[in-house]
C-alpha cells in the first residue's frame, strides 16, 4: 500500500503570515493531489498534479495559494498571506491503482 508523509502535522500562524506544507510520497506516483478540509466538511480539491505538471487548479485561490511538485515526487503547498478562513486540514493524496491514498494531513490554525 502506498504511504504519504506530510509535515508539519500542526501549524499555528497569525493572519497575513506565510506558511508552507510538505508532502512526501514514500514511492513515486504520477498523480498527486492537495485537498483542503474545513472542520465539519468533506475535503475540497485544490490542485492535481500529473508528474510535474498541473492538471487541475481551478479551485486553488491563486492570489494567495501556490503549489509545486519537485521532480514528480515531493510537493509543497504555500499560503501567502494567510487569512482566518484558511484554517483547515490540508491533505495530500496520491493515486495508485485507481485508488487515492491520503496522508494524515497538516492542521493549520490561523489566528
Amino acid at each position: 500500500e502506498a504511504g504519504v508523509a506530510q509535515s508539519p502535522r500542526y501549524k499555528i500562524i497569525e493572519k497575513r503570515q506565510s506558511v508552507a506544507f510538505w508532502c512526501n510520497p514514500i514511492s513515486g506516483h504520477a498523480t498527486l493531489y492537495w485537498y483542503q478540509q474545513i472542520l465539519g466538511q468533506g475535503p475540497k480539491l485544490l490542485i492535481q498534479f500529473q508528474n510535474n505538471g498541473v492538471v487541475d487548479d481551478s479551485q486553488l485561490p491563486k492570489d494567495r495559494f501556490s503549489a509545486e511538485r519537485l521532480k514528480g515526487v515531493d510537493s509543497t503547498l504555500k499560503i501567502q498571506p494567510a487569512k482566518l478562513e484558511d484554517s483547515a486540514v490540508y491533505l495530500c493524496a496520491i493515486l495508485e491503482d485507481y485508488e487515492q491514498y491520503f496522508g494524515p494531513g497538516t492542521r493549520l490554525t490561523v489566528t
Binding site: T31, Q100, F102, P104
Partner: protein, 112 residues
C-alpha cells in the same frame, strides 16, 4: 454547482447491528463513486468504490448500492463494530484523473 451530499449528518447504531449511510449526487454524468472512512486525526481511507455500469458491489462486511435513476448511493455495513465509528464520506470522480468531489460526511457512532 453540481455537488455530492449526504442525507444525515449523524448515525448512532448498536454494536452488531447493520448500518446504512446514504448519499445523493446531482451530476448525472458522474460515473465513478467511492466511499471513504475518516477517523479523527487521520486522512480519509478508501472503503469501496462502484462504477456507474454497476448497481451493487460487495466487500468485506460492506456493500455499496447505486441507484442511477434517483441519483442515490448507499453504504451498508454489516455487523457494525466499535472500530467502525468514524465519519463516512461519499465522493464522485471529477475528471479522468480521479480527482474527487466529497460530500459533507456522516458521523457513525457505534455503541456497545
Amino acid at each position: 454547482g453540481e455537488s455530492v451530499g449526504l442525507h444525515l449528518p449523524t448515525l448512532s447504531v448498536q454494536e452488531g447491528d447493520n448500518s446504512i449511510i446514504n448519499c445523493a449526487y446531482s451530476n448525472s454524468a458522474s460515473d465513478y463513486f467511492i466511499w471513504y472512512k475518516q477517523e479523527s486525526g487521520k486522512g480519509p481511507q478508501f472503503i469501496i468504490d462502484i462504477r456507474s455500469n454497476m448497481d451493487k458491489r460487495q466487500g468485506q462486511r460492506v456493500t455499496v448500492l447505486l441507484n442511477k435513476t434517483v441519483k442515490h448511493l448507499s453504504l451498508q455495513i454489516a455487523a457494525t463494530q466499535p472500530g467502525d465509528s468514524a465519519v463516512y464520506f461519499c465522493a464522485e470522480s471529477l475528471n479522468s484523473g480521479y480527482a474527487l468531489n466529497f460530500g459533507k460526511g456522516t458521523s457513525l457512532l457505534v455503541t456497545p
